[in-house]
């Protein structure tokens, strides 16, 4: 196999060869800059899922026959890969869910209902995705909780200037590790330490973090960490909730049904052990196997190399766009490429993001337009929506140039 990394740099041409979406000839060629919404899938992921269905499919944890054992083995091997990838102490701490949203709802329903009482304080941040806001808004309504928010600074960083006061009396703190709008990397460890000192449990939405940076749950200091498969080269329909084993052990189950029990009587039931206690019903088996393959690909690239590639590309994009458009293009979020991920939300010459995205599409450039499921953050930024370009392993400087070129066409149509 030819080297994917040459002189510490990811070889994008070689990486791209792994992704069938680039095989199809298009005119104009595909410039995919929307991986923060969902990434493309490498051949290894598609093959792993396909092979499972073609050769080994059987329900897991049930059949005694060899094929069912093989299906279970592949499914649990995927869990072990994910556990190792994020530095979990054991596979027992890795729960498969449908997506990050379900993972966060699991924490709210299970841990939240068992541990939070009327008047308790939950602290979130102004830059959360709706997935880490609405479950808590729902719970606050039902349990009469008090919600408090950590703000953001004008340069898009999490405002930790008065963390002790903000966290005083908090029972739970929820924060994103990386904003899906601003790209901001938040000081998870600092917030987690302060939260623990205040007696709170820490839930981290790592949907944008795990796909792009080396993840070590112990180093982050989190108690729960949620992420999704489809943003990290894996399929849709599979998410992960990592939780500290002691917390998960003490929590009541989330959904009830098959798989999550060890015994059922007409007057009650006994829970299965971790992690299956939280996996009611037939799980997304092929999707878990696909996620395991995705983790394998990311490990092959090396997460340090992935991060270095994205810092370099983000840096190039910030320079290029500033050089080309100056003050007429505003990139929201931190200016330092090392303090952010490869997510560039921008406003351009007053042109509505929907119109920007539509015009860019004519040049084959795919960017997201909208509020990115972060409406409170949009209000904080004083915009209704933004256009967002985001990078991953298959993007290169030519993609950034194509974006910059295509923005000229927006000006032609809409600037008057």
């Amino acid at each position: 196999m030819a080297a994917l990394i040459v002189d510490d740099v990811l070889d994008v041409t070689r990486v791209r060869a792994d992704f069938p979406v680039y095989d199809r000839r298009r005119e104009p060629p595909l410039v995919f800059l929307d991986s923060a919404a969902s990434s493309h899938k490498p051949r290894a992921v598609l093959d792993a899922m396909d092979d499972y269905y073609r050769t080994t499919h059987a329900n897991v944890h049930r059949g005694v026959y060899a094929m069912a054992e093989e299906a279970t083995a592949r499914f649990e091997a995927a869990r072990a890969k994910v556990a190792r990838f994020i530095g979990a102490a054991s596979s027992r701490e890795v729960l498969f869910t449908k997506n990050a949203t379900e993972s966060l709802n699991l924490v709210a329903h299970s841990w939240g209902r068992a541990n939070l009482r009327r008047g308790d304080v939950v602290v979130l941040t102004e830059m959360e995705h709706h997935a880490n806001l609405v479950p808590w808004l729902l719970l606050a309504d039902q349990l009469d909780l008090r919600l408090r928010y950590l703000g953001i600074t004008d340069d898009g960083l999490l405002d930790t200037s008065d963390l002790e006061t903000a966290l005083d009396g908090a029972r739970l703190v929820g924060l994103t590790a990386m904003s899906n709008v601003l790209g901001t990397l938040t000081p998870v460890r600092q917030v987690a330490d302060a939260a623990h000192a205040a007696g709170a449990v820490v839930v981290v939405d790592a949907s944008q973090y795990v796909p792009h940076l080396v993840t070590d749950v112990a180093a982050l200091g989190a108690d729960f960490l949620a992420f999704t498969g489809h943003k990290m080269l894996g399929p849709t329909g599979i998410g992960v909730l990592w939780g500290r084993e002691a917390l998960l052990e003490a929590m009541p189950p989330f959904l009830g049904g098959g798989e999550m029990i060890s015994d059922v009587r007409l007057d009650g039931f006994t829970c299965n052990e971790l992690p299956w206690k939280f996996e009611a019903g037939t799980p997304p088996i092929a999707e878990a196997i696909g996620l395991g393959a995705a983790v394998g690909e990311l490990e092959r690239y090396g997460m340090e190399a992935v991060r270095a590639h994205e810092v370099a590309l983000t840096s190039y994009a910030l320079r290029t766009l500033a050089g080309r458009y100056g003050d007429e293009l505003v990139v929201h979020g931190p200016a330092d490429p090392c303090g952010r991920g490869g997510v560039l939300s921008f406003s351009f010459r007053g042109i509505h993001p929907h119109d920007i995205s539509q015009v860019l599409d004519q040049a084959g450039v795919c960017v997201r337009a909208g509020h990115h499921c972060a409406k409170p953050l949009m209000r904080r930024l004083g915009v209704g929506a933004t256009a967002r370009a985001s990078f991953y392993v298959y993007n290169d400087e030519a993609d950034v140039d194509a974006l910059a070129d295509a923005l000229d066409s927006c000006s032609e149509l809409f600037c008057f």
């Binding site: 539509q358 015009v359 209704g384 929506a385 809409f414």
Partner: protein, 165 residues
């Protein structure tokens, strides 16, 4: 792929650059309705003043959005002034039909196919327009149906007006 010229016609850009009937009205006597496009975050507020005969005496629009939602709102505001509520409803039906019939004939790539069903995403049945109703400038928005995700932009003002009626 459908061309941008189908979407961004000159008259649409003109209404976007120079939106008609922007502003607010005192409530009461005017009625106020808000509409949101959950997809893109567009927001529109419609102020509707009906006179004693049930005609649209005045209508103002505020909020923010893309060229399609803003121009559609602007053209709508011109079209419905002086209309009775029934006439407004007939225009609404005709406009929804414009946004629906064509969509039903398009596949995901904007190419025409022989489809039977369609919709503007609101889950309602295909409306039957009164052939006597003329859409005037609004017909310029017909190209939007080749860009199905933008149909909700075009219908936002109309759905909000319907709430206000």
């Amino acid at each position: 792929m459908a061309g941008l010229e189908d979407l961004y016609r000159e008259i649409i850009l003109d209404h976007y650059r120079n939106p008609r009937n922007r502003g607010e009205l005192d409530c009461p006597p005017a009625r106020r309705a808000e509409g949101f496009n959950p997809l893109c975050g567009d927001e529109i507020v419609i102020y509707l003043d009906l006179d004693d005969d049930g005609r649209v005496a005045d209508l103002k629009i505020s909020g923010q959005g893309c060229s399609i939602s803003q121009s559609s709102a602007s053209m709508m505001s011109q079209a419905v002034k002086g209309c009775t509520v029934e006439e407004v409803r007939a225009l609404n039906t005709a406009f929804k039909a414009l946004m629906t019939i064509h969509e039903s004939r398009l596949d995901g790539n904007g190419n025409e196919i022989g489809g039977e069903t369609g919709g503007d995403g609101s889950g309602t049945d295909t409306p039957v327009p009164d052939p006597r109703v003329s859409l005037g400038d609004l017909a310029a928005l017909q190209g939007v149906v080749k860009f199905p995700v933008r149909i909700k932009c075009a219908t936002l003002a109309w759905n909000t007006l319907t709430q206000a009626l």
